[in-house]
Amino acid sequence: MGKVVITGAGVINSIGHNVGEFTEALRLGKSGVHTLRTIPTDNASVKIGAEIKDFSYIDYLDKLQRLCKDLYTRSRKILNNSNLSTQISSCAAIQAYLDADLINSNLDNDSIGIIVAGNNISQKYIIDNYKKYLKEPEYINPKYAISFLDTNIIGAISETLKIRGIGYTVGGASASGNLGIYNAYQLVKTGAVKACMCVGALADFSELEMKALSILGAMSCHRFNDHPEKASRPFDKNHEGFVFGQGSGCVILESLGSALNRNALIKGEIISVAAGLDGNHLANPCAEGEAKVMRSVLQDAGIMPKDVDYINAHGTSSPLGDVTELRAMRNVFQDSMASIHVNSTKSMIGHCVYSAGVIELITTLIQMNEGFCHPNINLDDPIDSYVNFTGKEALAEVKINYAISNSFGFGGINSSILVKRY
């Protein structure tokens, strides 16, 4: 069983509509958090979020016309009158597919798979249709019967890109992205497919989820409504909960053999992935469970804690979550903590929920290949002054050889990925 590498990436979020824009925004420490515009906030205490701004899937697809007329025509029809997550997630997938140059490869369509990471993806779409149903049941769009399903994204991408390998959705709450990558990694490693897209679905939260999460006390909704860009502050003493982020990311995992065979540009290597449960159905995190998955990825790879150069933290800006994750890191890395750069991308793009793991893997690869660490933009007063957090400006000339990316989800779901520069 051979090595698994990453050959393509695509991303659309609140600070970048593609990998290039996202890279520059990371370097500059741009915040995508604003007052919410697309989710009703009348009954809500949560007024802010990192929404995607000024992105039209129709305009994006229009640009494909010159490249591939077929792809343009097909995708326009499939995404027409579909839901937000299907539209945006499909665009991220197309970006990654083109980035991997799969369009010019002669890889058999049966040997490419798709994993969509996320469950309960299109909540706002469902609730908006329910409101319509209450007004007049006969006007419910027949397409709803297909498009309310999470798997609608699988169907859309597989038809758009003519992919016929293995495909299914993988759910793990906030750890969905990493668990999707875990599955894609296994499919490629075992030879079930030669390449596998892992699409982190855009979480289409409605006012119902936002309200419930704010009642739970999980979201920032008190101190920063007038300065939304300051609200997502992982590991800072004034953290008060996570900020919702809209975004979709897609990575293409491929066997090293297949990548070399077609001269694909390799962006990094996935060395190991670990997943585990706490035996807890609630939202509270557990340091032992988080430490266990970080330790697992190191042990599976046979590398020492001191060999890790960088950690992309789960870092949600939740008081309990941030403290617990640092405790878990200290447990695993101990004295090596001083030499490991730590940051949280959520400080800029909020918590992208299902796609967080995928977007944060892409962030890790960008930093690895470009040689910098993005800032922790709101880290004014760290809760732990001995952790080697990147400051409020990007750190240049950083050499990252081994990196870890963490994602932890409600229901005691823990995951960690170990990546190596290729």
């Binding site: 025509t73 029809k77 027409n80 006007y139 027949p142 397409k143």
Partner: protein, 81 residues
């Protein structure tokens, strides 16, 4: 509401659902299937038109329409009841 008005509403919904169609090429004697609409498209077009016309009709009535002209006639009959 004239039959011409109804035809225009249906044409707008055909464009909304079939996107790349030339709205000026739509012939009232064509069927939606002729224009390339699959079964879901056909229900969508009929339903969106009913919504625009503030009509709620049993689906079995629409099953009798062989082409766009029939659809216009069915809608016209119910609006003017």
């Amino acid at each position: 509401m004239t039959k011409e008005d109804i035809f225009n509403i249906i044409k707008m919904n055909i464009l909304k659902v079939l996107i790349d169609i030339d709205v000026n090429q739509i012939d009232i004697n064509q069927s939606l299937k002729d224009l390339g609409a699959n079964s879901i498209d056909r229900v969508e077009i009929a339903q969106d038109s009913m919504e625009d016309l503030n009509l709620v009709l049993p689906r079995v009535e629409l099953g009798h329409a062989r082409n766009i002209r029939d659809l216009v006639d069915i809608f016209h009959k119910h609006i003017n009841r």
